[in-house]
């Protein structure tokens, strides 16, 4: 990059060798990128070390029963996070299902010439603006808009389909469904932006060839474009899922923070991140260690999802390479 732009003094000779300054700058820049990449890795390790170090007493004391326990009683020193782990995964998967469907649809809509180019830019920016809204605002919006909006429908469903476990309880206010809906909107920009990039990076020739073979627009999209960009779309889903797992404030406000294990969409539940947000500021010494343990679990879950996702992506892309080239 640095060598491609000529220094002033040698502007007349186009193909002069790089000056010492260019070389030095090139090296310095490379060194800098190395330093910053390693700093990121070290930072992650340092966070792990800090949290892990503080969690050790709790890990020793509670061990595996912490993961299978279902009570959280700071006064009696009894801690278990199974309902929170369940709630974290449940709400995130639900949000991912919703945001995945809409996010990929938006990405297709914005890249496949459904709109004039200038409108595509406008729409894209509007969707990405969603990422700029603070979490607390989403929480308040959830309380004041989403919950009242879905309450009648939810209670109708509950009355008529009570026998389905998902609808076993009525929706009184905060609960799993409103939390997941808001969560879905929060991760929508991540999913749609990255899917959009993936889809628009599919070579144009590929689509033209599909049309050339007589494919319709939709056949081209679902038969060629989507499979060719599957790796990228899957990557967007993994990132979105990671973000959903760790989302805190909006969930603390909407999920109901109730320590129970339930599959009902309308029941209040809890998540690990909300548990941390609510209890950390006032935690005593023992509770702090326990919360660090919970934080460690949350990190492990997020890390696990990312590794799992990366592994699948690798296999999928190995399979896909023939198609794109």
């Amino acid at each position: 990059m640095a060598t491609s732009i000529e220094p002033n003094e040698s502007i007349d000779s186009v193909a002069s060798p790089p000056t010492t300054w260019d070389v030095a700058w090139d090296r310095a820049f490379r060194a800098m990128t190395h330093v910053f990449s390693w700093m990121t890795i070290l930072l992650v390790l340092y966070i792990l070390y800090e949290i892990g170090g503080k969690a050790i007493p709790a890990v020793q004391e509670f061990g595996f029963s912490f993961i299978t326990g279902t009570t959280w009683d700071a006064n009696k020193g009894e801690f278990g996070v199974l309902p929170e782990i369940w709630g974290t995964l449940y709400s995130s998967l639900l949000a991912l299902a919703i945001a995945g469907f809409f996010g990929v649809s938006i990405a297709i809509f914005l890249t496949q010439d459904f709109l004039p180019a200038y409108l595509e830019v406008v729409f894209k920016n509007i969707v990405e603006l969603l990422a700029a809204i603070p979490s607390v605002v989403y929480g308040l919006w959830g309380i004041y808009v989403v919950i009242p909006a879905i309450r009648p429908a939810a209670n109708w469903v509950h009355e008529h389909f009570e026998w389905i476990p998902f609808f076993k309880t009525s929706l009184s206010g905060p609960g799993m469904l409103p939390a997941s809906l808001v969560l879905a909107i929060m991760i929508l920009p991540t999913v749609s932006a990255i899917s959009r990039d993936a889809i628009s990076s599919v070579p144009h020739k590929l689509k033209e060839a599909a049309f050339g073979l007589g494919a319709t627009r939709w056949e081209a999209i679902f038969g060629v474009i989507i499979p060719a960009s599957a790796t990228g779309i899957f990557g967007s889903l993994v990132l979105g899922f990671g973000r959903a797992l760790g989302e805190t404030m909006a969930l603390a406000m909407l999920v109901g923070n109730s320590n129970q294990l339930t599959v009902s969409l309308f029941s209040p539940a809890n998540t690990l991140a909300a548990l941390l947000a609510n209890n950390f500021p006032e935690a005593g010494k023992q509770e702090e260690q326990v919360l660090m343990y919970a934080a460690l679990l949350l990190m492990a879950i997020t890390l696990g999802v990312n590794i799992f996702g990366a592994a699948i992506m690798r296999r999928a892309s190995a399979h896909m390479k023939g198609a794109t080239k």
């Binding site: 004041y144 109901g256 209040p268 609510n278 006032e282």
Partner: protein, 353 residues
Amino acid sequence: MRWRNSSLFVAGLTACLLFSGCSSRSSDSSGGADAADNVKLTGSGASFPFPLYDRWFKEYSRAHYGVQIDYQAKGSGAGIKDFTNGTVDFGASDAAMSDEEIAAVGAGVQLLPMTAGEVVLAYNLPGVEGLKLSREAYTGIFLGKVTNWTDPLIADANPGAKLPDEDITVVRRADSSGTTFVFTQHLSAISEAWANGPGTGKTVVWPDSDKIVASPKNDGVTATITQTPGAIGYIEYGYAKLTKLAMASLENKAGNFVMPSLESGQAALSNVEMPADLRAWLPDPPGEQAFPIVSYTWLLCYKKYEDPKQAEALKAVVKYCLTDGQKISDEMGYVPLPEDVVAKVTAALDAIQ
């Protein structure tokens, strides 16, 4: 050339950002030492009296140029923690401090009750005003035993009220909170089932129910009650007054149904003797017109400050709060301190140096 310049610019910007943090901080502290009048007090703690404290400190700073007071409503427990660690100049707590907590502070602790507040039961039942709840009814509701608004325990005390055949949604605090402490302390005092069950604490284990939901902070609970038909929850009086939520009148120790108000709060305070360490609890205050759930809220000060100017400034602020400040307590939804308590707190200021 352009590339080189812009990268230098970026590097310069990064350097600026990296160092500006340090330099601004150092200039802050030196500024405090240079200017004779500039005193900065930082505090953190209870969210329960925050609206009042915020107003007091703002008005004091406006009237006294050079005195700057920052108060963060982090919650009582966090306030005690910050105060013990010495990261703030004063703390605030609705649960005072326990003997153990006091012993952990090397510089000594002076607790100062600054105001009192009522914890009210706010509800959302369109068309129902002046709901009356007997002791049995409201402990039953929070124990998850009284689950419908038409329950005879509620209906019998409210003849003529159009109570809906609806589930009761209980809204509680999700975070550890002084308001919860005050509320559960009262419930433990009046109900054996509560004392043996959830008990007293800044967080307690609530009964398992789909109809008990939790929200963070006083404003979270307030918002959730406002948006949930059939909901009831406990919040500080000021928050309910500000948002015009309906409040239930509660049965007190004397058996009367009492609405939360300035008078009923004062009636509760007037019957309680303030001990020498200024830690008085009112789990179930006596008195015909006393509102049953009332608590003092405390400012936590060190007995000895390194900077005498800070101690002086803090004492002046507290004096202002105890005199002129008490006059605005009522409009903000708090109960002014009784005269004799003000006198005791003023006298206690001498212990701060």
